[in-house]
Assembly symmetry: C2
Homo-oligomer: 338 residues x 2
């Protein structure tokens, strides 16, 4: 089968790879209906994450179950399924508390930028849709696998909700979908921080009521100015740099909440950033599985259209162009047809 391999920074190749097999009785093999490139894939692509050997890529997926192990009960061959970027048993104490990305048995599914993939702990990891989706729903279901689930977790971690002002730092797919999540969670006012016209437009479509172009301390100051000097109740951090994290903390009001979902790179938080400010800080790899049943239902009922973040579709074999387009910000998010 064909699959994407990153050989070195900037060196993306699509190669013939061995087909995955059922290695454990709890595994499933799925045939991907669509794959995609994640903002977090750009860290190793840009050389910010060290690569010691060629890495098969991809961790977002939707598709049809082709094969299951003997102990798989909830998922059947032929099901159309959505899963998360960590496999989880969904039964341990940590999963039951809603932190499936820290499941005591967690492992990595995939790689998912391929035609077929292996998903461990299939019963706990995969959620089947009510039936075969219409083609136009597939991008949205694929978004649920990571970027929507991650933006959603950011908004939940930031305690977005009715009466709240929510600011979102980051205008990638995750940030834009955090805007959508904040709207769905009932936020009163949603401030998207972006200086790109196309992303601003999508943010407004997803529910942003205000746009702030300033960044860093100036961005935080602008949020305070827009909120009577207090700051936002909720801030979603969807970038992962020192500047964006400080911007998020600085934009929150005393007692406010920062939900951070950008993969943190060399970020340090000084005690005084969170002591005298009383800002709540919570985040990490989104436990997408917690939200999947709800997200699938909203997509199935066509109440939300998160697939709008895919603004470029390419055949899997042109994955290299997909990476380049995202790296150069020519595309928000790239869908790959396997």
């Amino acid at each position: 089968m064909r699959g994407v391999v990153l050989h070195a920074p900037g060196d993306v190749r699509v190669e013939d790879l061995p087909e995955p097999t059922v290695d454990e009785p709890t595994d499933a093999i799925i045939r991907l209906a669509a794959a995609c490139v994640c903002g977090s894939d750009l860290w190793p692509y840009r050389g910010a994450d060290k690569l010691s050997r060629p890495r098969p890529m991809g961790h977002e997926y939707v598709g049809v179950v082709e094969q299951i192990g003997d102990q798989v009960r909830a998922i059947k061959v032929g099901d159309f399924v959505v899963g998360s970027f960590f496999a989880s048993d969904n039964t341990c104490e940590i999963c039951r508390a809603g932190y499936q990305t820290n499941c005591v048995h967690r492992s990595n599914p995939g790689p998912a930028q391929a035609q077929l993939m292996r998903v461990p702990l299939a019963d706990g990891t995969l959620v089947a849709t009510p039936g075969r989706p219409d083609a136009d729903l597939i991008p949205s279901l694929l978004a649920a696998s990571d970027v929507l689930g991650t933006g959603w977790f950011g908004a939940v971690a930031a305690e977005a909700g009715p009466g709240k002002t929510v600011a979102v730092v980051g205008d990638g797919a995750v940030g834009l979908l955090a805007v959508l999540a904040a709207r769905e969670l009932g936020a009163e006012r949603i401030i998207a921080m972006s200086r790109h016209a196309d992303r601003q437009a999508l943010a407004r479509e997803f529910g942003a009521t205000d746009i702030v172009e300033e960044r860093g301390d100036a961005g935080a100051a602008k949020i305070k100015e827009l909120t009577g000097g207090l700051g936002a109740h909720s801030v979603v951090e969807a970038v992962g740099t020192q500047q964006s994290m400080m911007q998020a903390i600085g934009a929150a009001r005393p007692g406010g909440h920062v939900g951070f979902v950008g993969v943190l790179h060399d970020v340090t938080i000084a005690g005084n950033d969170i002591f005298f400010t009383h800002v709540h800080v919570h985040g990490g790899p989104a436990p997408v599985r917690r939200f999947l049943p709800d997200l699938i239902e909203r997509i199935w009922d066509r109440r939300i259209d998160p697939g709008r973040v895919f603004d470029l579709t390419l055949p899997l074999d042109q994955a290299a162009e997909g990476y380049a387009a995202m790296d150069q910000r020519r595309a928000i998010k790239v869908l790959l047809r396997p």
Copy 2:
């Protein structure tokens, strides 16, 4: 009047100071029924906080209102009152959200290691007791002013509650009272981290079910061992050093909560300490005013006895000995009779 002044690290003097006056129409002057030395007073006493000039000390207080400004309505002359270490209007948006220590009009009452003190924003800051307290209640009411309120906030910030395992880092008055708070909030299991027999005994009296003597990484590992490898649901940090903060974060389970109330000194948190662990982090100067009405009621009804943390009582004129006793850990907390 007599009052305590810190002239330099280790140099505590009790001097004649001018009596405070009503400077603003929202001020009250109170005659202290009791004063005390705070663990946070030891930072400048030990030279860890820089002192540019002699500093009148004290921020914990109970006493009788002697005088009020023209605009004071809720508090009357003759009331016995308890207040917090920050004055707050208790009406602004931040106060109403429960963060009175970040009130938009906050200011400093006191100094309180004295015979009389000025309290700004008296209506928003002070809470009157139902009547004149019996003498034996005064230490507990004084504790409510800071150490109980701070330990309580730590437990609330750590989301201590029914079914939860709560670990407390720090066996000073605040840590010990966080144990009491966790018990009152219904925690199932409370692990006090202490290596001092007298403090261990008081922790058990306040509700600790387990004692852990290990510190740092070993302490965190011990908490994991005691909790099936997962860690505590809730951890209260009541010290404020790098080691204690890392111990607290390391002792929490994925998705768990760290409530930090030790005044942070040169603490930095790496992104990875809180990203992959999913630990919630929240704390700061305790908004004691949020809890005061409830705490006073519990003390008045003799349901809790937080005054037990005072294990040494001295006349105000012997304040220097009080500081030394706390510095050398000969006393948990020192009450001063003005």
